[in-house]
């Protein structure tokens, strides 16, 4: 190699890298200092364990290969993969190549980047041809991703995205720099190859082509300058643009493996999640508010951006269904719902007074089953009476905790971000439940169930009535006959995505009816729009959404629509387009009771 290879054009690149690393590391140190002690402890304890290896594996899969993104949208996944993995391989193989050539383990960091400029004749180097071919191949790979990125910007529909994120000022510089990096590299390498003929199938061919048109030998140095400058610009702008997501996601993956979790408050973990969002835009089409009501600013891709830019995000924070469709699809696995509620909390009036002085100890009674109907179920008496019939059919003892009405479970308050108030209700109900000492606790409302699971400490098997019915069926405590109905099932958001109960209601329905598939179900089911998570949506807007959801659910023209949530039932029944029944009502109407002739189906319990 002789003298140290150097040319002033390596400076923009080198300065950029040093600047970026300094900015990122100092930012990370500042951030880590503010972490609560317990979280820092978790990181310390996890660092030298196998968790780090698992985290590395996930970093490889997600940050480089973008596996989850592939699953969500293959073209978009490919695009992200070419940039991340393609570039990574270019750096890795470039490093190996330059080290093999120089025969030394130490390299100046810029050396592999500008290798093609410094070295024109690799004869004698091991695997010389293979490397030349490989590097050209990788460059082509990245360029194909770039082509997709350009298409995404000009016509996102071709990539299966109806809507995509728009570019903001700060990101624009970084984005253009990133786009220019690889074409400039191609040009620089091709021009050099036009002079020295050392390139591979891509750069050599392209070089020859340029040679025909332009005086290549004068262009070599300017071309490398241009390449170095765009690299430098990208690195300098990275810590201040959305590309911060690249390092942030890596950190986030490690933190998750060390056991850090989102808390109730908008804290440092939330910030790391926020910065990990690449604004890929996948959540935008999934959000019914964006796709049906043109509320484009609501999905996390935009919402997070407002928070990051310190713009007013109050409207965005409150106008969300908390349906979880965005969280389910997010390829980075960001807890989008938690962040939404944390932000709501920030906007709420913090009140430390005792909230509900009128809540005095309620009546408690021990029984095998404790039944909590919930506020919404009180508005659908058919579900209540069906549950009572089912309990009686099982022969187990039960106590109906809120038969005469009771306090709310606290979840609507929780979702509104008023945590102190929610806590007061939780304490009230917790006290009654503790005194009841049930074996099984059943609720008819998935919203309550979610609250019981997350906010309460319940020493009993806690389940939704659909799970309870399934359990009783499996234990032969109840027997069901076929109802003869063709039904479609609507997954309530809180029960499905919220609590991952997808199978039990379906198992029950298979026993009872002819269950029809629908286009979007289970994880991908649509929200009925009744959600208590949203306070702002107007009634016409809710109706519009509910009707779109019904369009999808009624595609197969079922005899009845079955759901497992009183609020979904009420919302979907509101438009009078079909019969909407709760799974408990269908079960109660088709119970085979011992010693009693089986009842005729369709009892008048299908009240709306």
């Amino acid at each position: 190699m002789g003298a140290i290879a150097f040319h002033p054009f390596v400076l923009p690149f080198s300065i950029g890298v040093v600047f970026m690393l300094t900015a990122l590391i100092s930012r990370f140190i500042l951030w880590k200092k503010k972490l609560p002690f317990a979280d820092n402890e978790k990181i310390r304890n996890g660092f030298f364990t196998v968790k780090t290896l698992y985290a590395l594996k996930e970093v490889f899969r997600e940050s480089l290969l973008h596996r989850r993104m592939h699953r969500v949208n293959p073209l978009l996944g490919y695009m992200h993969m070419t940039f991340a993995f393609g570039w990574f391989l270019l750096i890795l193989i470039g490093n190996i190549e330059s080290r093999l050539y120089s025969g030394s383990e130490f390299n100046l960091p810029y050396y592999p980047i500008f290798f093609q400029y410094f070295v024109h004749d690799k004869t004698g180097m091991p695997l010389e041809k293979v490397f030349t071919y490989l590097m050209d191949m990788l460059l082509l790979f990245v360029l194909s991703g770039l082509a997709l990125a350009l298409i995404k910007r000009t016509n996102s529909r071709l990539l299966g995205l109806k809507r995509t994120t728009n570019i903001h000022k700060g990101d624009r510089i970084a984005l253009f720099a990133l786009w220019l990096i690889f074409p400039f590299r191609l040009i620089a390498e091709s021009i050099t190859s036009g002079v020295y003929h050392q390139g591979g199938f891509l750069t050599d061919t392209f070089g020859k082509f340029i040679d025909e048109l332009l005086p290549v030998d004068q262009l070599v140095v300017p071309a490398w300058w241009a390449y170095s400058i765009v690299l430098g610009v990208f690195f300098v702008s990275l810590p201040f643009s959305r590309y911060l997501h690249i390092p942030a996601e890596i950190v986030l993956i490690f933190l998750r493996h060390y056991g850090l979790k989102p808390s109730k408050k908008f804290d440092h973990f939330s910030q790391m999640e926020l910065f990990s969002c690449p604004r890929c835009g996948v959540c935008i089409d999934k959000c019914q508010l964006a796709s049906e009501l043109n509320m484009e600013q609501i999905p996390p891709g935009h919402f997070f951006h407002s928070i990051r830019d310190h713009r007013d995000d109050k409207e965005q924070a409150f106008n969300c269904l908390l349906c979880g469709r965005c969280e389910e699809i997010c390829p980075v696995g960001i807890n989008t719902l938690d962040i939404r509620v944390q932000r709501r909390h920030e906007f709420q009036v913090q009140d430390n007074k005792i909230q509900f002085p009128y809540l005095v100890d309620g009546k408690a009674q021990h029984a095998e089953i404790l039944y909590f109907a919930g506020c919404m179920t009180h508005l659908t008496p058919g579900i209540k009476s069906s549950m009572i019939r089912i309990f009686e059919a099982t022969g187990l003892s039960y106590y109906f905790m809120d038969e005469q009405g009771g306090a709310c479970c606290g979840r609507p308050m929780q979702m509104a971000g008023r945590f102190n108030e929610a806590k007061a209700m939780v304490e009230h109900n917790q006290n009654i439940i503790d005194r009841c000492r049930p074996v099984i606790m059943v609720t008819s409302c998935p919203i309550c169930l979610k609250s019981f699971k997350e906010e309460y400490i319940i020493n009993a098997q806690l389940m939704h009535h659909s799970e309870f019915i399934n359990l009783m069926m499996e234990k032969n405590k109840i027997n069901l006959k076929h109802s003869g109905l063709r039904v479609s099932y609507h997954d309530p958001c809180e029960l499905g995505r919220g609590l991952k109960v997808y199978n039990e209601p379906r198992k029950v329905l298979h026993q009872l009816s002819d269950l029809q598939p629908v286009q979007l179900e289970a994880h991908f089911s649509l929200c009925c729009a009744g959600s208590l998570g949203n306070t702002v949506l107007t009634n016409p807007q809710r109706n519009e959404l509910a009707n779109r959801t019904l369009d999808m659910l009624l595609e197969n023209d079922p005899d009845a629509l079955v759901t497992a949530c009183p609020l979904c039932k009420k919302t979907l029944a509101g438009s009078n387009r079909c019969e909407v029944i709760d799974i408990a009502e269908l079960v109660a109407a088709n119970l085979i009771l011992k010693g009693e002739p089986s009842r005729v189906l369709r009892t008048p319990m299908y009240s709306h």
Partner: protein, 107 residues
């Protein structure tokens, strides 16, 4: 004056015209559906909080409409936010947002 052992009550007439209705106006701008409330009381009759107290959303709406703001601030904090009122309201008033907006503007 001769003391006959009784007094006359203070004038209890309320002059609504003199009341400050600004809270209602703000509420109206932030949650326009408050305007279509017919004060039927369906919300109050189903209200979860109403089982425990005298709390009545209908009354709150009426009072704010008239500019009678006594106790409103304490009262709205009794609501449990359960959403029953919203489902039963025959006029589809966005009841929970009324509470939410009031809590924000009264603090």
């Amino acid at each position: 004056m001769i003391n006959f052992g009784y007094t006359s009550n203070k004038d209890r007439q309320i002059v609504f015209d003199e009341n400050d209705r600004s809270v209602y106006q703000i509420l109206q701008s932030k949650e326009p559906s408050v305007d279509i409330c017919i004060q039927c009381g369906t919300c109050s009759s189903t209200c979860t909080t109403g089982q425990f107290t005298q709390f009545s959303l209908r009354q709150i709406i009426v009072n704010i409409h008239r500019g009678e703001m006594d106790f409103i601030n304490e009262d709205i904090r009794k609501c449990m936010f359960c959403g029953k009122c919203q489902l039963v309201c025959p006029r589809s008033v966005n009841t929970r947002n009324i509470i939410q907006v009031l809590i924000t503007i009264l603090n």
